[in-house]
Amino acid sequence: MTIDGCLAALGDALRVRGVARRRFLRECRDHLVDAAADRGEAEAVRAFGPPDEIAAAFDAEIAARRGIRSTVLSAAGVAATGASTLALVHSADPGTTAPTVWAIVFFVAAQIAAVSAGLAVLQALATRRLEAAPAGAALLARRNGCGLLAAGLTMFAAGAALPGHGSASILLAGPLLVCAAAIAVLRAGALARRLPGSHAVAVRSPLDDLRQLTSLPLPSLAPDRLLVITVCVAGAAAFARDLGEDGRVGQAAVVAAIEAAAVAGCWVALGPALGLRRR
């Protein structure tokens, strides 16, 4: 095979487009030209390796890079939307009471946004220096997408429930950042889904990521045990919060039960998409 043939095969096998592709092909051409000057064209191409394997490795690398960048944007988008939502709530007309349905949507979506963004950030930090499998990149895109959608829904629920008069720039800051992040996530997800192996089941425990990041002796828990612990912690936190605010044990117990049921329901519905359990 000639240098031009090798580069053409590499270009055909690559799925990534744009600047990264052009830079990679330029680097490969320079390498092959130098190697051919030292050792001859045939040996240079042989030593370079199979174009399809190299292209697959580079595609996976760019998918991982885009995934991490989009995670940074998504986390910022979720945080900014949270701030915009708080501004919206504080600018509500005095005495306005939120309808129950919108209040439930608000609290559930807010928690899904926080959990999804947290899972994505943990995964991105834990894998930022490692080889990334396409299934992992696809999972990261799903976690980011879920966080952004839930953040948008949180703000929408607050806006629908509590009419008021807030600063347009503050209220729009969050949604604008979410839109920018959504574009990055869609781009990263689209590349990841085109790669071989991206549709493999990816289950990734946040405890494993935390252990890798902190070196703490955290246990490896099966998904069902992780669910039980999460439900207990969420229920206990809801109980303590409501007891502190209202002081009635009976009502706090009801709130804790609702919280626990909501967490379990979200786990069942979103667990496979967020890589917390198998379908």
């Binding site: 590499l10 830079r23 990679f24 320079d30 996976a60 890079r65 220096r129």
Partner: protein
Amino acid sequence: MPTDLRGHLDGLLLAALAEAPGHGYELSRRLTHRSGGALAVNEGSLYPALHRLERGGLAASSWAVIDGRKRRVYRLTPAGRRTLEQSRREWRVFSAAVDRVLG
């Protein structure tokens, strides 16, 4: 016989970069030269690995003109230097343990 480098490539590239900044082909030659030809890798696989080091903040790169040609030159970052030192320590512990077992 050349030895397969998969799993060690990132550490070896960091070591090659610690010597001096360089473009991909230069780094490939350093790996071959320093190992006396005993370590073999598909040279094309250096580039995904170099991009990975860049993603992790262990290496940085920029275009530079070398011998009249524009080349992408990689250099080690402070984080890369710290990671290299850690890799060296871990490798010494690992190889000493294997030496003791093999005798």
